[in-house]
């Protein structure tokens, strides 16, 4: 048999006139036709495909056939792009991977380019061309975003729509000279959340767009370059780079900063920004590259077959559908009919008024993140009228409009007279609206929704509130809130996503359900991140799924996002069996159907039929709850402080957000927004509302700041924060006795002389240590070790405290995206190398790789450190040595031994091996220093625990509540915990952490006996410091400790738990459920801040603060009431 590979290469059977390159991207199709002979471009075009890739390809082929003359037999086609793979075969084209295509085009058209940044609709690519000096080979290092569309054109599109920037204005919006605000570029959803918040501060759209460009540039420079430097010349390719001036300028600003920092020499005679340019054909490089690839292909490769197979595919797109599709939302028309009978809400009919009638009513106003809603409630709780407006960016304007609408319905339409008895606000803008409108109450959103549900339904157990951005799950027992869950920073799969997807298909959200119910089958989506869902949508469309089917499939994502992603409650029966669905998204019956089905399926095996109701005014549930609060206060005799409808209509305001409004009361110097509101025509009604990030910024004179500071100081004194103390005391010098061996006067061997020389230099040696990870637990051990050996305390130099600025400045060399506590190490190392070393040179940087940690617990299986944290010192070294060895350049030794803290002798050996060459150490002095180190470590830990015990005793005495932060020692870092615990402290709660709880078997014997004695006596555990009753696989030191702290909190009457966990934490994830169950089973309030990373979503965090604070106050009141009511 003839080897196939060696068969004579076939020649085209007829003459090829044209070579065609088609780039089917995620949002556009681009095509180029060139002459086969001389490569002249004969035709080119690009168009958005609106997710109809196949259809758009057909249109392109039609046009190329008629306008450029291509036909089967006279051309070869080469297809590239993320949507091209499946389509290429249908027309006989050869598929070329897009990065390879772009690289070929760049090598041909711009051989001088060493770096390429291509931004597409949903993907971003960076290609670096590196010439190997030894072989002369030019190789390329390419990286693409593989899962997430953060930092791509899709985000720009979304934000442009949000900011209402006309498409015609966008290309010319500038970056240079525009003020930039912090926006998360990591994820489109986070970026949107940040932009939302900034927009509400009144910042102009142009600044927000420029800020987004900045975020996208930084995100790609930080993550996608994988730590490599983009060398000049840099080519900017792809749609956003080609069309958007601001995007180009953002690159031209940020890349030269890196060049400067990394000492990159620029070709003479060029300004930095000239070296970063978008070429004229920036859009077509992939298509041109595909053609270039085709030139190298012999034979029949890419022979155009004509459009017929593509036409057939388009006619019957379902042929490629995956077999694993699901039936539609309703199995039969009867089922749909029965569902509608049960759940179709009765249309709202506004109350009718008589001309001249005096209408007394309360107003509930919900200033949400995406819309503003208002209701008019009669004194007996009936909804008289409603008003709604999509957020226009300013909550005052939106509120004026909806309140005006209510008034119009009563006074203008009916001729009645409206008398407002009270006003309650809720939602994102509740405080501003309270101040401006004189509202009687500003109610936390979760509480407002609860109030509303409680009014309409008897004993609801689970309130499922799905709004535009927020998903809230409120769990009740006997009419009391017992727990709640909120989507954290991610608003994945929320109502807004369903709406925008439908609108993307040209289907208004009101017709979503009708469309989705028509689908006989639907694709099966995953759940969670909206961005992944977006790429699934594109893929399903490619497979031929129709809009209605996709909408039906997406509806089924909603309950999974609510109950699995947000609530993390696979066992629905544990939540309760009476569910109330409310929030604007519940107006969508397809979403309701999906939730009803999901809930029923979850209960199927129990034989219980869950009761599921939809709130009669689901979109306005929050506003109604706020209105009820105003009504309650009125009934208690409080006269309303509402400024009145007339005054509302006369409100004038100006928004100022500029350098003049910048806060100067602390080093953060945050930008604030001044809202100068004038009610009525004169100066008497004028007031200034300051929108600021903290209490101090909310005033504008130093005396007020002092007053606030004094108040804060008093709160801090009354509520000690052990997290803050631990984070501060851990770095203090230990000043131990000397462990150093006396130096001999002379030595007879070279080794001896070397040792004397090294030991003599110890007092001058400067050691840098990154202030990260396990150092937050073990710095005293190492401080004491070095100090006792003669290193001066001031020469042990820790990197600065983590800040957002530090992260932005120093993290661009990282090549991976692990948890934030690990990622931040690169920034700390950068701080040591560039800042601390710059101040006074460092001789060494010490960053041990913790393999095994210490523990006070008993009967655990192991005390492993987390592998991510363990190996971080290696990834850090890679980051700073891969292009040039920055450590060697600075003459800094990097010492990062693997250490086992449980095996003290091994640890001593490991330290001796690491430090002998630097300190000229002897074994005995090393052993003494290790002993001193451990002694100081124990002193440090026991000192904190003693303080904690005092606070706890005081707490018991006063019978107040304290919060235990269930988080690892590095969560003490204020830059990692985003100062959330400090905020709770200000609210009046003493703060503990898992590593500061009292646990001394002798000193705390009484406490441990009270908490664990019964368990020991009943044989559940053998020792108070044991976790075998709750956890079997006790291998991870910090996880073990967290579990024990959870047990402690669950048993202590004055403690509640707040869990902290970082995004991607592999040691926390397996114990999530156990921690939750340990705390909650005992009836102890439990809250969590999981998936924490560099992003700090202020709105979501504030909502949590407020809700948790509200909840804890209720909990404490209940405790007190119980105490008062209990028989002595």
């Amino acid at each position: 048999m003839m080897p196939a590979n060696l068969q004579p290469g076939g020649q085209p059977s007829s003459k090829i006139h044209f070579l065609v390159g088609v780039d089917v991207g995620s949002t556009t199709v681009k095509a180029v036709v060139v002459a086969a002979e001389d490569g002249r471009i004969l035709w080119r075009e690009y168009r958005r495909h609106d997710t109809r890739q196949a259809g758009m390809l057909r249109e392109f082929l039609l046009r190329m056939e008629s306008e450029a003359g291509i036909a089967p037999g006279n051309c070869r086609i080469f297809v590239t792009g993320s949507g091209g793979h499946a389509l290429a075969a249908l027309i006989g084209a050869r598929f070329v991977q897009e990065v390879n295509a772009v690289a070929l085009a760049v090598e041909k058209l711009h051989p001088e380019a060493q770096s390429v940044i291509e931004l597409g609709g949903q993907d971003a690519k960076i290609i670096l061309f590196k010439t190997d000096i030894s072989s002369g080979r030019r190789r390329k290092i390419a990286s693409m975003n593989d899962k997430c569309a953060g930092g791509t054109g899709a985000v720009i599109d979304k934000i442009q729509a949000k900011l209402n920037i006309p498409a015609s204005d966008l290309p010319e919006l500038a970056y240079r000279g525009v003020r930039i605000h912090p926006v998360a570029g990591k994820c489109g959803v986070f970026a949107e959340t940040d932009i939302n918040g900034l927009q509400k501060q009144g910042l102009p759209p142009a600044e927000l767009m420029a800020s987004l460009y900045d975020a996208i540039a930084l995100q790609n420079l930080t993550v996608l370059t994988r730590g490599h430097t983009l060398l000049p010349h840099v080519l900017l390719l792809g749609g956003p780079n080609a069309f958007l001036r601001g995007m180009r300028e953002a690159w031209q600003h940020n890349i030269p900063l890196l060049w400067k920092e990394r000492g990159i020499e620029l070709p003479p005679g060029h300004a930095a920004e000239d070296l970063i340019q978008a070429p004229p054909d920036a859009l077509y490089f992939a298509a041109l590259g595909a053609i270039e690839f085709g030139r190298g292909e012999a034979g029949e490769s890419g022979r155009y077959l004509g459009r017929e197979p593509l036409e057939r595919f388009l006619e019957d797109g379902s042929q490629d559908r995956k077999i694993a599709s699901k039936p539609g939302l309703c199995a039969s028309p009867d089922e749909l009919q029965a569902f509608k009978v049960r759940y179709q809400p009765a249309p709202f009919i506004p109350a009718a008024f008589q001309r001249g009638q005096r209408v007394e009513a309360f107003i509930g106003l919900d200033g949400g993140s995406t819309s503003t809603k208002a209701v008019l409630l009669s004194p007996d709780g009936e909804v008289l009228a409603k008003a709604y407006r999509l957020s226009g960016g300013n909550p005052i304007a939106d509120s004026m409009e909806v309140l005006g609408d209510l008034r119009r319905q009563v006074e203008v339409d009916s001729g009645a007279n409206l008398q407002i008895l009270g006003l309650g606000t809720t939602g994102y803008a509740k405080e501003i609206l309270q101040q401006v409108l004189g509202a009687d109450a500003a109610l936390v959103e979760t509480v407002a929704h609860t109030e509303s549900a409680l009014h309409y339904f008897a004993d609801p157990q689970v309130i499922v509130d799905v709004g535009g951005q927020d998903i809230k799950l409120i769990l009740l027992r006997s009419g009391r809130v017992r727990d709640f869950r909120l989507n954290a920073q991610c608003s994945a799969g929320n109502g807004y996503f369903l709406q925008s997807t439908a609108e993307g298909f040209g289907i208004p959200v009101e017709r979503y359900a009708e469309s989705a119910f028509a689908a006989k089958s639907m694709p099966s989506f995953g759940y969670g991140c909206a961005v992944f869902l977006q790429s699934d949508i594109v893929n399903y469309q490619r497979q031929g799924w129709q809009a209605a089917e996709i909408l039906a499939g997406l509806a089924t994502v909603l309950p999974r996002n609510v109950f699995l992603h947000v609530a993390k409650a696979p066992n629905l029966t544990a939540l309760g069996s009476r569910f109330i669905l409310q929030g604007g998204t519940q107006k969508n019956l397809a979403a309701v159907k999906a939730q009803v089905d999901f809930l029923r399926a979850g209960f199927r095996s129990t034989g219980i039929e869950p009761e599921i109701e939809v709130h009669p005014h689901c979109g306005e549930a929050g506003a109604i709850g706020a209105g009820f609060e105003a009504m309650r206060l009125w009934r208690l005799g409080r006269a309303t402080s509402f400024i009145g409808m007339d005054a509302v209509s006369r409100i004038r305001y100006t928004t100022t957000c500029s350098e003049e409004t910048r806060c100067r009361f602390c080093k953060n110097a945050c930008l604030r927004t001044f809202l100068d509101v004038q009610i009525g025509g004169d100066e008497t009604g004028s007031q200034r509302i300051i929108i600021a990030g903290c209490e101090k910024g909310a005033v504008n004179d130093i005396a007020s700041v002092r007053g606030i500071q004094a108040h804060l100081d008093a709160a801090r004194a009354a509520n000690p924060n052990l997290v803050e103390r631990a984070a501060s005391e851990v770095w203090r010098p230990r000043h131990p006795e000397s462990a150093a061996a006396p130096l001999p006067a002379r030595a007879w061997s070279a080794a001896g002389r070397r040792r004397i020389a090294l030991a003599g230099q110890r007092s001058q040696l400067r050691i840098g240590i990154p202030r990260v990870l396990s150092m937050y637990a073990y710095a005293p051990l190492f401080s004491a070790y070095f100090e006792s050996l003669g290193v001066r305390a001031e020469n042990i130099v820790y990197s600065d405290v983590t800040t957002g600025e530090m992260y932005r400045t120093g993290s661009s060399r990282g090549s991976i995206d692990p948890c934030f506590p690990s990622k931040i190490a690169i920034a700390h190392f950068h701080n040591l190398l560039f800042k601390q070393h710059g101040r006074k040179p460092l001789n060494a940087i010490f960053f041990p790789m913790f393999d095994v940690l210490t523990t006070q617990l008993v009967n655990t299986k192991a005390n492993n450190a987390c592998p991510t944290a363990s190996v971080t010192p290696e990834t850090v070294e890679a980051a700073f040595t891969k292009e040039t060895d920055l450590l060697a350049e600075r003459g800094i030794q990097y010492i990062h031994p693997l250490v086992n803290l449980t095996h003290r002798k091994l640890f001593a050996r490991q330290m001796l091996q690491a430090w002998e060459p630097v300190l000229g150490l002897g074994k005995e002095e090393n052993d003494r220093a290790i002993a001193i180190g451990f002694r100081e470590q124990e002193r440090f830990e026991s000192s904190l625990r003693r303080q904690a015990r005092e606070v706890l005793d005081q707490l018991e005495k006063e019978d107040r509540l304290g919060i235990v932060m269930l988080g690892r020692p590095y969560h003490h870092d204020p830059g990692i915990n985003h100062e959330i615990m400090a905020h709770f402290q200000k609210l009046g709660y003493p703060i503990f952490s898992q590593s500061t709880l009292p646990m001394d078997p002798d000193l705390d014997a009484d406490l441990l006996e009270r908490l664990f004695g019964e368990d020991i006596r009943s044989g559940v555990i053998d020792h108070a410091l044991e976790i075998s009753d709750v956890w079997k696989t006790a291998f991870s030191a910090s996880s073990n400790h967290k579990l024990w702290a959870a047990k402690f909190t669950a048993r202590h009457p004055n403690l509640v738990a707040v869990e902290f966990s970082s995004f991607k934490c592999g040691h926390d994830a397996p114990i999530y459920s156990a921690i939750e169950q340990i705390v909650e089973r005992s009836g102890t309030p439990f809250f969590s801040f999981r998936d924490m990373d560099e992003n700090c979503p202020a709105h979501s965090i504030r909502l949590r603060f407020e809700t948790i604070d509200y909840f804890l106050k209720r909990y404490q009141e209940d405790r007190m009431s119980f105490k008062a009511l209990s028989p002595p």
Binding site: L6, M144, G479, N864, V871, L987, A1050, D1068
Partner: protein, 591 residues
């Protein structure tokens, strides 16, 4: 009832309201006492044992490897008298089940494998089994570990997901390498005899080698599907052999004159029995003969060694680099469909890593542990005891390493000799250590780096693809240093792909990106080889057509240093054959 309390920061006449509602409050508080008294405490679920009495009624479920390995596991379980059933390869639906019922934030293998079990249990329910029946009639058998990553906590995660899915009483049985079998019973249902453990060794080796063979041969087969058919036949045959082979019992095998006295010397009998079993399992003529038959069956597959295929070496996290389904985006079949030859990794390599790590960890503590850790310099007896204990354990570990490598190599040799031996762990550690500490645990880290450097510098592949599940801690960290590794070795084409269960198209696209470069490299290497051979394609083709053994999958093609491609090495060899500079090599087993 309405909430009647103030919100944050407001001082309202709460007490008045509370006083008015005292009776209702009291009733409520009595209704929900745990709300105020921290009394009810969580306990982890009680584990139900699987006992010997249940052995005949209970089916052992297992999975997580390739179907080839699993068929052999099934055979040895059957041979030991157990009922068992292998689970299908985990797919995206399994992943969804895993996410639904497990904790959030798990790594991918957790979701896939746990979800796969739940998916299977659900399918049993669909067949009419009640949950109670399922809990009584099935158990799941899986590997345990002591960490340091999430793997150490898999057991708890399995239990949680099963509980959340409604199978609270479902039982898990763990196999832990260092503790053999853990079963919470005095008379455990699963008892692992020497025969089972030796069978397991054979199972792993056979599974690894046959799996590797399938990937090495399939890209070159001239009749599509012929490799898969041959592999299936071979797996059937070998598993039948493993299942039905006669167990070695010294008293049955010994001649009558010896058997009688042996019955009276139980210790000697025991020793001979153990030795005999070891030799029988590993060296018996029947086993060697079965492997020869297997080789002959595979040899029926005709191949075309001249196909130019970029060689892609797979490294990565243990499970992601092994599974053959959605768990790694069906990466192997995708690569083959894109024209690549895949060199997969073996489970055997992981075992030799574990053995070496145990020894190295011991070496690090040399002189620090022992029965007399505090022995002073002059306490010679104590020090000698310490040294003896250390040396004995060290030697056993070293012997295990050597034996394991030998056994693997022997299986590879009997099955055609074209699959490589296990790599030297020492060499991998040496290559990785400058970048990634070789004693940092969670082997994916340094092994990925070591293999990347080894395969590239030895010219054994055109591209290294690291498959790592989303969230894998050591594997992600190794990525952090690979960017530095890539800078040091300019010829390296290295691509890490995170397998998340979602985003398959993007992952494939990235692989195509790197493969494009590898393809160019392979083509250039082939073209250069063709030129160096001095022969035209026609000459090569004609020569191959005349010599059937050159179309055998087991033809031992000599490998030139630095040339990775099979086709390039082949044309160089054929060039030499035509010129008479060398002679045709013998096929293994042919005289």
């Amino acid at each position: 009832m309405r909430l009647d309390c103030s919100f944050a920061g407001e001082a309202l006449p709460l007490q008045e309201e509370l006083q008015r509602s005292v009776p209702a409050e009291r009733e409520q508080l009595v209704e929900a006492p745990s709300f105020h008294h921290k009394t009810g405490h969580y306990r982890r679920p009680v584990e139900r044992p699987f006992t010997a009495e249940e052995r005949n009624q209970v089916t052992i479920l297992f999975g997580g490897f390739t179907w080839k390995h699993e068929r052999f596991i099934e055979a040895i379980l059957h041979a030991s008298g157990y009922r068992c059933q292998m689970l299908p390869t985990p797919d995206v639906e399994s992943f969804t089940f895993g996410r639904e019922f497990g904790n959030n934030g798990q790594c991918n293998p957790t979701y896939f494998t746990i979800g796969n079990l739940i998916k299977f249990l659900r399918s049993l329910e669909d067949q009419g089994y009640s949950r109670r029946e399922i809990e009584e009639k099935y158990i799941f058998f899986t590997a345990g570990s002591c960490g340091p990553c999430r793997f150490g906590m898999y057991e708890s995660e399995y239990r949680l997901a099963l509980q959340n899915a409604g199978y609270e009483r479902f039982r898990l049985v763990l196999y832990q390498a260092e503790q053999a079998i853990k079963a919470a019973a005095d008379n455990p249902g699963l008892k692992f005899t020497l025969d089972f453990n030796l069978g397991a060794l054979n199972m792993l080796n056979l599974g690894d080698v046959i799996n590797d063979l399938s990937y090495r041969i399939r890209p070159f087969e001239t009749v599509p599907g012929s490799t898969d058919r041959a592999i299936e036949d071979v797996v059937n045959r070998l598993s039948h052999f493993l299942e039905t082979r006669r167990k070695f019992e010294i008293l049955e095998r010994a001649p009558r004159w010896l058997a009688a006295p042996l019955r009276h010397t139980p210790r000697l009998t025991g020793f001979l029995n153990v030795t005999g079993k070891i030799l029988d399992h590993l060296y018996s003529a029947e086993f060697v003969a079965e492997m020869r038959e297997a080789r002959l069956r595979i040899e029926e597959v005709e191949v075309d060694h001249t196909r130019v295929k970029p060689v892609v070496k797979i490294v990565g996290e243990f499970w992601a680099q092994l599974t053959e389904g959605d768990g790694n985006f069906n990466m192997f079949s995708f690569l083959e469909s894109e024209g690549a030859q895949v060199h997969i990794d073996s489970i055997g390599g992981w075992i030799s890593y574990l053995l070496r790590q145990s020894r190295i960890s011991m070496e690090a503590k040399k002189g620090l542990d022992g029965p007399y850790p505090e022995a002073r310099g002059w306490e010679l007896g104590k020090r000698l005891t310490n040294a003896w204990k250390y040396r004995r354990k060290w030697s056993l570990l070293r012997l295990s390493e050597v034996l394991w490598s030998y056994l693997y190599a022997r299986t590879a040799r009997h099955l055609g000799g074209i699959t490589p031996r296990l790599l030297s762990q020492r060499e991998l550690a040496r290559l990785a250590h400058p970048f990634y500490h070789s004693q940092a645990r969670g082997g994916e880290g340094h092994l990925e780096v070591g293999k990347n450097v080894y395969y590239t510098t030895q010219g054994l592949c055109h591209m290294v693809l690291a498959l790592k599940p989303f969230g894998c801690m050591p594997s992600s960290q190794s990525d952090g240093v690979q960017s530095s590794v890539v800078n040091r070795f300019p010829e390296m084409i290295f691509l890490p792909v995170e397998t998340s269960g979602e985003g398959e198209i993007n992952a494939h696209s990235r692989v195509q990106m790197a493969l494009g470069e590898a393809r160019v490299k392979a083509r250039a290497e082939f073209d250069a080889a063709l030129i160096a051979s001095g022969k035209s394609p026609e000459e090569i083709r004609e020569y191959v057509a005349r010599h059937r053994q050159l179309r055998s999958p087991f033809y031992p093609i000599p490998r030139r240093r630095g040339i990775a491609g099979q086709a390039a090495n082949f044309v160089l060899h054929v060039g030499n054959l035509i010129d008479g500079r060398t002679s045709l090599a013998r096929l293994p087993g042919k005289r």
